[in-house]
Each structure stands twice: as structure tokens, then as C-alpha cells.
């Protein structure tokens, strides 16, 4: 790219590749792609310094549609491949795009370890609670009893909660958003991408063909105000069409109260910076039907990143041992000469 091109201000078009997008019409992935492409120009990072790494599944087609460097890898392994890349190239902004099957089933182990190491990358997990690309089998996030191609009598697997995994792995940035709230999605993406350390975002994403309206009970327009609560750091969790409800903690459990009825109750204040993840973990267990489902940033804390500590060790070894010298390396230990 010429210097002229480098000079221009980035727009969405700079991030749109020439590949034809091939998701099903109406797929939630379109919205996510569009928001990502619109959000990227906000960072001071040129397209050539972004790398999108994905595994296998519908979501994993994502890199083809981004005019950045991209790697569509193998099932579940994207976090491992991205880790290797980030270790050697801390200068790049590395993204991992994965799904509920790719990230939590076949690739669960890699996801956990990428997060616990705090590798500075942004992980987008598109959760549609179904295997789409293999045509409709239940996934690790599918609800118990789900009838699918592989579970005609209903699934007997208890589902897994992606955010619990992220928190148990001590991810330093953990958030949830949804494909239909473009503004919130953009906000969370921006926060995640600016976070120094691993960021994990669960995105509720609709699969129109195999699991349509999977999240409708929560996110449906007609009732979402009552069933969703947006998290804001330092503020109470207020929700309801008339902002008339809130959350308090009673006996270590969140509880819904009506503000009008209980004006003097101490409301819980969201603290995304809490050093330990207990509060965030509590939030992940607010699930529909009993509770409104939280969206937003659950946790955002600072810790040294893996690639930085790796580089620090190298610097310290160089300081201590001097820059590696091949001759010294080879000509060392107990040697003897033969004339």
C-alpha cells in the first residue's frame, strides 16, 4: 500500500474484503461483521496490523470477509494458533473468532488456556446454541432437552455457560453482548479491543436456519426491557420498561426488587474492576426465567500479558548472559582438543 493510502483516514471500506459473504440470509453474523468493520477504523491500527484467526464453523468464515491478514484454521484450535502468533508478533492486533461448538466443545482446552495466560487478544465467541455448519446438532450451550438432528428425544447434556468458563480461567476482560443491539455490540467491541490482555466476548447470535429465535425469550423486542439488564461500572443494575426494577444481594444471591416498593434497600453497584471474579461470577448466574440476563462488561482488570512477560524474560536473559553468541554456545561445556 502506498504512503498516500496510509495517510488517509480509515473507514469501514478499508476493512471490507472482496470475498462474497456466504452466510445464510438473515444470519446474525452479518450484523456482527458489519459492526466489526465499522468499529475497526476507530483504533489507530492499520488493516495490515490486524489478524483474524478462526477455527471451524459458520462464525469461522469471518476472516475471509475482513480486508486484514486472516487465518481460517482447524476446528477449535484458533486460540492456540493465535497464541503462537501473538507470542512472536506482539505488534499485531490478534482477533479470535469462534463459536459455541468450536470454542467450548472441541476447542475448550485451548480457549481456557489462552484466557488464563492473558494473551493480549480479542476473542469473539458467537453463541447461537447450535451446530449450524454441520446442520443442526445440539451444542455445549444448547438448553437441556433440546430436540435436534442428533437428539430426537431431547438433549440430555447440561449446558455450559461461556462466561463462567472465561471467569474460571481468569480472563481479564469478560463481556456479553448481542447481534441485534448494534450500538451495544460496538461499545463492547471497542472496549474489548482497547483492553490490554485477553478479552472474551460472548455474543448472542441468531441462527436463522437451525435455531431461530434461540434468545428471543430474553432479547425479544416486546419483553427485553424486563428481561435484560445492562451493566455499567459504578452504577446499580436498574432495568424494566420504566426503570423501576433493580438488583440487590440477599443471602449471597442476586434478587430483583421493585424500587417503588422498597425504596430504602441497598442496591448492588456493579464493579467490573473487582480484583477477584466472585461478583462477576454471581452475575453470570443471573439467568432467564428467574432473573434478568446481564449484558455488558462483567470484568475488566489489568494484569501483565503473556507476550509481554515472555519478552521481558528474553530481555532479562540478554542482560544477564549477553546477546547470544553462536560460537560461545557451541564451544561450551567440557571440551577437548585433538591435534
Amino acid at each position: 500500500m502506498s504512503s498516500e493510502a496510509e495517510a488517509h483516514e480509515l473507514t469501514k471500506d478499508d476493512f471490507v474484503s472482496s470475498a462474497e459473504v456466504r452466510w445464510c440470509p438473515g444470519c446474525g453474523d452479518y450484523a456482527i461483521l458489519s459492526v466489526v468493520q465499522r468499529t475497526l477504523p476507530k483504533f489507530n491500527v492499520r488493516p495490515e496490523n490486524h489478524v483474524f484467526v478462526s477455527g471451524i464453523g459458520c462464525s469461522s468464515r469471518f476472516p475471509y470477509y475482513m480486508n486484514t491478514y486472516g487465518f481460517h484454521t482447524i476446528h477449535g484450535r484458533a486460540p492456540a494458533i493465535a497464541t503462537g502468533l501473538k507470542c512472536v508478533r506482539p505488534d499485531l492486533h490478534v482477533w479470535v473468532v469462534t463459536g459455541d461448538g468450536d470454542g467450548l466443545s472441541i476447542g475448550g482446552n485451548h480457549l481456557i488456556h489462552a484466557m488464563r495466560r492473558n494473551v493480549n487478544m480479542t476473542i469473539l465467541l458467537f453463541n447461537n446454541r447450535i451446530y449450524g455448519l454441520t446442520k443442526g446438532q445440539y451444542s455445549p450451550t444448547s438448553e437441556m432437552g433440546k430436540h435436534t438432528a442428533s437428539t430426537p428425544m431431547g438433549s440430555i447434556d447440561y449446558p455450559i455457560n461461556p462466561l463462567c468458563i472465561a471467569l474460571a480461567s481468569e480472563a481479564t476482560f469478560v463481556a456479553r453482548t448481542l447481534d441485534t443491539d448494534i450500538k451495544h455490540l460496538g461499545y463492547v467491541l471497542e472496549r474489548a479491543a482497547n483492553h490490554k490482555g485477553v478479552s472474551f466476548i460472548e455474543i448472542y447470535q441468531n441462527c436463522i436456519v437451525f435455531n431461530h429465535a434461540a434468545f428471543h425469550d430474553v432479547t425479544g423486542r416486546e419483553h427485553r426491557d424486563e428481561r435484560m439488564v445492562y451493566l455499567e461500572h459504578g452504577k446499580p443494575l436498574i432495568f424494566g420498561q420504566h426503570k423501576n426494577k433493580a438488583i440487590r444481594i440477599k443471602r449471597l444471591k442476586p434478587q430483583v426488587i421493585e424500587l417503588a416498593k422498597e425504596p430504602n434497600v441497598e442496591l448492588v453497584i456493579h464493579d467490573e474492576k473487582a480484583p477477584d471474579a466472585t461478583w462477576a461470577y454471581l452475575l453470570t448466574h443471573m439467568e432467564y426465567l428467574e432473573m434478568p440476563v446481564p449484558f455488558g462488561v462483567f470484568r475488566c482488570v489489568e494484569r501483565p500479558t503473556y507476550e509481554q512477560m515472555m519478552e521481558d524474560q528474553i530481555q532479562s536473559a540478554v542482560k544477564k548472559q549477553g546477546t547470544g553468541d553462536l560460537k560461545e554456545l557451541i564451544y561450551s561445556g567440557s571440551m577437548w582438543s585433538v591435534n
Binding site: 493510502a5 470475498a19 475482513m66 486472516g70 482447524i74 497464541t83 503462537g84 540478554v318 554456545l329 567440557s334
Partner: protein
């Protein structure tokens, strides 16, 4: 060379025991061309360390050396039992020693179990030095001796030296402040002192080593040094040893040498290769025996900007390596057979995206967990074919520990030049065995040229070099060259996703042809011995030493036999068929049930070859190969 047996019986008879503690006993001095010594004891007795020190001292004194550490898979099997025995064999020579030797001349047995396990291997009339203190009823029972072998006629065919090593160590360390159990742990140095004296080695280098190793534990350092000196002096004054051996300097080529194991040599080779290519090395690995040594060694060299990554599993290790290669670095992983199984899928990805990387398989006994600490060559076909689809990779195999250095560099060179994964097949024997390594002239090692397309150049992700068929390697961060790669089939040249039938066949053929063209870029196969004749022994990997020794022995005895040892298994050197077709018969010894033979027959259907196979977790003995060759001549 086969070790020349000393006439020990005569020596013993001539010397005659004389009880004269004040003056040194009379004894015969004998010069040996080679000597095989085996240290055996409980896995907590420090036998690996003892063997290692003896080897080091011998190497520094100018002998050729070859070693065989052999230890159980359990870190500490129940003490005193047969499965808990750990041993270390070394062959030292004033002539070339290509193998650790078939049968030890001297066995040091620190307990009854060690004696039980290793006695059958000791050569006739060989020395058996035992720690009598360990021959308690309990230990004898654990070792399944029905009677104490030191009393009966069990050992009548050997020259047995009975020494209460534990007691003598305690005496020597009377002044020490160490606890009794710590004192007991010094007995291996006492035993080492005895053997140092018997083979006339100077203990100086070991004393220095102790000083350094235990610099923070002065008590232990002093005790070990005292035990070593005491053992040495005891052998000197006792009349138990009527003979003392000399093994003179080996007539090896001039140069500077150091002792090296295969795993160390691979690690140093990788650091060197990265340096020659001007690339940082990223080594992603998951701990597995017998490959972990490479990870340990590389993690010491961070000042070369080596990044070592202990992954969550074998798959992640390979994945991270691919990520590092995508990022423009030298990605290398190392594992053993079970780990190779797990890496297969990701190796397939590296083949599809045509990124350079190196995969080291330090083979061990299989299948499954198999024999974790023992050697085998049974991953060859896995390395060749163990992936889905048409998935060619380059495969190379060092023949000796020191050669691992060169083959690591060679694997990296091929990976970069041909944009391909390269598999290095080492094995447990090469990995842990050691030999003298003639140090290269660092300044003369050829640079490895790596080029990346630059901004402004015309670039297509799958455009190829017309000669090597290597694709271009544009790295992230390069403006204007943004592209996407992945595991889905690529359209030729553009690299876009393609499901086109014709294109798929074209790409499969291109990938195969690319690996085949490596043959234009590697050293030809060489024959040792006459270039033509009745029998050619063809080998790869660790069979080199035993085959070479066998044919040297046979040729010295007037037999016409040749060998050809391959370092390149895929592709084969171009001249290979020409080489073997000059012989009537071909013998292929390998530590598997005929995998290389299967490859040869597939590639050269008319080849007149037969296999000679062994899968006992142990390398070939020279005698085994020698007798097989005699059968065929």
C-alpha cells in the same frame, strides 16, 4: 569395532592376591582398544549421573565414546525391585566406538536387582563389582533371588569383586555432618572412584564438576568428592584388583570436541539454524518422554531470543508453532509418538497453508503409551502418511547424537526453502545417547536465505517459485499484502477458497511435486564399502552404529559387504536406486516390523530387499546384525 576382550582370567591368576596393605599390590597393566562398562542400580542410586561422569572423564581424556542410558518409566519404582533398575552403559575406545557395545566387560551392580537384570549381558569372565551391603535378605527377595548369588556358583563364570560400598562410604564420611541417608546417597561416587581407578581415569574433571554442581551445598559437595577419592584410593591399595586397564586416546580427526546427546544437539542445531536464517526461534512443546530434553535445553537460551512455549497439549503446541510461522518466525515443535498422533491434524494444516515449520518426533516404543523410556523406529509410516488426504511432508532422520545438530539445520533449511513442514525422526536412543561432537567452524556455516514479499511487489498467496514450487511467504504487518489462508482447499495462485475438482487435483499434485523436488537439493546417498557386490545393508536413524560396526568387523574378516545409510527418507536422495541396484541383495535392519522396507518396496517394487527387525525397546547389538549378514553372504 568389537571390543577386544582382555584375558582377564590369566591376569587374575598371574597376579595372585597379596595382603600387603602398606605397599601397593602387584598388578598387571593391560591396554584395551575399547571397554564397555555398565553402571546399574536402583533408580534412586544415581546411576545415570555416575555413567555420565565416567563418560565425560573418558571423553576429556580423548577416548571415543558411545553411551546407552536405560531407565524405567517410573520416576521411582519400588526400591530394590527389578522394574526399578536403572542403568547406564558406555563404550570407550582408543578406536572408533560407533555403539555403546553389546556386552559389558564390567558391570557395577549396586543391588541384587541390578545384578539380576544385567548379569546375563556381561561378557564371559567379565568383571562384576557388587555392593555387598545391599545384598540383604529383603533386597534378595525383592530381586527374586532364591539364594544369595554371592555365595553359590551363580557367578562362577565371572570375575566377582565384592565390596561393601555403603559401609566404606560411611567410613570415608565419618567426619561429615550429613545425615546417614545423605551419606548413603554418596555411594555412587565411591563406586565411580573404583571404576575411575580400574580404567585409569583421572577424577579431576569430576571433582571440578561436583564443585560447580553443588556450589550452594558445600556439605554435599565435600561428601561426594570425599567418597569419590575414597573409592579411588581403596581400589589403589586393595588387592581385589589384580589388573588395571588403559584405554588410550582415540585417533579421531583433529578438532575441538565436546560430548553431546541427541536432544542437546537438536536444540543447539535449532538455535544455530534460526541464527543462520536471521529468524527468532519459537519452540512450542508439551512435555513428553523422551523429547522434553529439547524443551529444557532451549529454555536456557532465551538470550538468543528463543521463545519456548509449554503448551496445554500437543495439539496446541503444533497450533502455536503454525501461528508463529504465520507470523514470520521459525516455528518448531518436538514430541514423541503419542504426541505425533495428536499433532497430525495441525500438521495437515501446515501442509495445506504451506508454512515452514519443523516437527521433531523422538520415537519411543509404541503403540499408545507403549514403552515411554525405550527406543523404537516405528513412527516412520506415521510420519510419512499419518494424516488425512494427500499430505506429503519432508522427513529426515539423523543417524547419531552429534548428527542431530546438522540435521536440525538441514530441516530448517528445507522448511524455509520449500515452504513445507519437515519432520525430524529421532528416537530415545539417539536422544539420550551421547558421543563426541566435533565442533563446527561457526563462521563457515552457510547462511539460510529467507525472503518475504514486500509492499508494492506483485503478490499472490499461492504463486510459486518455478524451481522449488515454494509459495511466497508474506507476513502480517506488511502493508498491501493482506490475504487470508486456511485449511480449505486453495485456488492455485490466488489462494482463494476453491472447491473446484480440477483445481483440487492440481493442488494435490503441486504439493506432492514440491516435496519431491527437495531431492534436487539434498546430498546423494553414499555407500560405505565396495560400490557393487552381493549385499548392501540399508538403514536409517539409530541403526547406523551397529550396522557400521558390523560391516567393519566383517570386512576386517575378509567379507565383502557394504552399507548405505539414509538421512533423507522423504524424498529419497535421487541416486538411491542407482546405488542399491549395484547389489544382489539388500538387507534392511530396523527397530520396527518392516516399515522402511515397506516404503522401499512401494517406491521401488523390484527391489530385492529383506528386513531384519527387532522391537524390544533396545537398539540392535552389533552381533545380531553381524550374524544376520553372515547368514546372507
Amino acid at each position: 569395532m568389537t571390543p577386544v576382550s582382555p584375558e582377564k582370567n590369566e591376569a587374575v591368576n598371574n597376579a595372585g592376591p597379596e595382603n600387603a596393605p602398606v605397599s601397593k599390590p602387584k598388578r598387571t597393566e593391560k591396554t584395551l582398544r575399547t571397554a564397555i562398562i555398565r553402571f546399574a542400580g536402583d533408580s534412586g542410586d544415581g546411576m545415570q549421573l555416575t555413567g555420565d561422569r565416567f563418560t565425560d572423564a573418558s571423553a576429556i581424556m580423548g577416548n571415543d565414546i558411545s553411551t546407552l542410558p536405560d531407565y524405567p518409566a517410573e520416576i521411582r519404582a519400588p526400591a530394590g525391585t527389578l522394574p526399578g533398575v536403572s542403568s547406564f552403559q558406555v563404550n570407550i575406545g582408543s578406536v572408533a566406538t560407533h555403539t555403546p557395545g553389546d556386552r559389558p566387560q564390567t558391570l557395577v551392580a549396586m543391588n541384587p536387582a541390578a545384578l539380576k537384570v544385567h548379569l546375563p549381558d556381561v561378557e564371559e569372565h567379565g568383571w562384576v563389582i557388587v555392593n555387598t551391603d545391599a545384598f540383604t535378605p529383603g533386597n534378595l527377595k525383592k530381586a527374586l533371588w532364591s539364594a544369595n548369588p554371592l555365595d553359590g556358583s551363580t557367578l562362577k563364570d565371572y570375575t566377582v569383586i565384592k565390596i561393601p560400598i555403603s559401609t566404606l562410604t560411611q567410613k570415608a564420611l565419618q567426619e561429615s555432618k550429613l545425615s546417614p541417608s545423605e551419606v548413603e546417597r554418596c555411594k555412587n561416587f565411591y563406586a565411580l572412584g573404583l571404576i575411575f581407578w580400574l580404567y585409569d581415569r583421572t577424577p579431576d574433571s569430576t571433582l571440578q564438576w561436583i564443585e560447580q554442581k553443588f556450589s550452594k551445598k558445600q556439605d554435599i559437595a565435600q561428601a561426594n568428592a570425599a567418597a569419590l577419592r575414597a573409592g579411588y584410593s581403596y581400589a589403589d591399595v586393595t588387592d581385589l584388583f589384580p589388573v588395571r586397564y588403559q584405554v588410550k586416546k582415540a585417533a579421531i580427526g583433529p578438532g575441538v570436541y565436546r560430548k553431546i546427546s541427541g536432544n542437546e544437539a537438536l536444540a543447539l542445531g535449532l538455535v544455530t539454524a534460526a541464527n543462520l536464517a536471521g529468524k527468532d526461534l519459537f519452540y512450542g512443546s508439551y512435555p513428553i518422554t523422551p523429547a522434553s530434553g529439547i524443551l529444557h535445553e532451549l529454555s536456557k537460551h532465551k538470550n538468543f531470543r528463543v521463545k519456548t512455549f509449554q503448551a496445554e497439549d500437543e495439539i496446541a503446541a503444533m497450533g502455536a508453532v503454525i501461528g508463529a510461522s504465520f507470523g514470520g518466525h521459525l516455528g518448531v515443535t518436538g514430541t514423541s509418538g503419542p504426541g505425533m498422533c495428536l499433532k497430525s491434524e495441525a500438521i495437515g494444516l501446515a501442509i495445506m497453508v504451506e508454512l515452514p515449520c519443523v516437527i521433531i518426533d523422538v520415537q519411543r516404543g509404541g503403540p499408545s503409551t507403549g514403552l515411554p523410556t525405550k527406543t523404537e523406529q516405528a513412527d516412520l509410516l506415521q510420519a510419512m502418511f499419518g494424516r488425512n488426504g494427500e499430505s506429503p511432508v519432508a522427513v529426515v532422520a539423523p543417524a547419531t547424537p552429534a548428527e542431530c545438530f546438522d540435521m536440525a539445520i538441514e530441516a530448517v533449511r528445507i522448511a524455509f526453502k520449500f515452504m513445507t513442514p519437515v519432520i525430524i525422526l529421532s528416537d530415545g536412543y539417539i536422544a539420550n545417547g551421547a558421543e563426541p561432537w566435533k565442533l563446527p567452524d561457526v563462521g563457515k556455516l552457510p547462511k539460510i536465505v529467507v525472503e518475504h514479499p514486500k509492499t508494492g511487489e506483485s503478490f499472490q498467496p499461492y504463486e510459486r517459485d518455478p524451481k522449488t514450487l515454494a509459495r511466497e511467504w508474506a507476513i502480517p504487518g506488511t502493508p498491501g499484502l493482506m490475504h487470508r489462508i486456511g485449511g480449505i482447499e486453495k485456488a492455485n495462485i490466488t489462494g482463494s477458497v476453491s472447491y473446484d475438482p480440477e483445481n483440487h487435483e492440481k493442488m494435490c499434485r503441486l504439493r506432492t511435486e514440491k516435496v519431491a523436488r527437495i531431492a534436487d537439493d539434498i546430498a546423494p546417498a553414499e555407500v560405505i564399502g565396495p560400490k557393487k557386490g552381493k549385499l548392501l545393508v540399508v538403514g536409517w536413524g539409530n541403526t547406523y552404529g551397529p550396522i557400521l560396526t558390523a560391516i567393519e568387523n566383517l570386512r576386517a574378516a575378509g567379507k565383502a559387504v557394504s552399507m548405505c545409510h539414509l538421512r533423507y527418507l522423504n524424498p529419497f536422495p535421487k541416486n538411491f536406486s542407482e546405488v542399491f541396484s549395484q547389489f544382489e541383495k539388500i538387507l534392511v535392519p530396523e527397530l520396527n516390523l518392516g516399515q522402511f522396507l515397506f516404503l522401499l518396496r512401494g517406491r521401488f517394487p523390484k527391489i530385492r530387499a529383506e528386513g531384519f527387525n527387532k522391537v524390544q525397546g533396545q537398539p540392535f547389538k552389533v552381533a545380531e546384525i553381524e550374524s544376520k549378514i553372515r547368514e546372507l553372504l
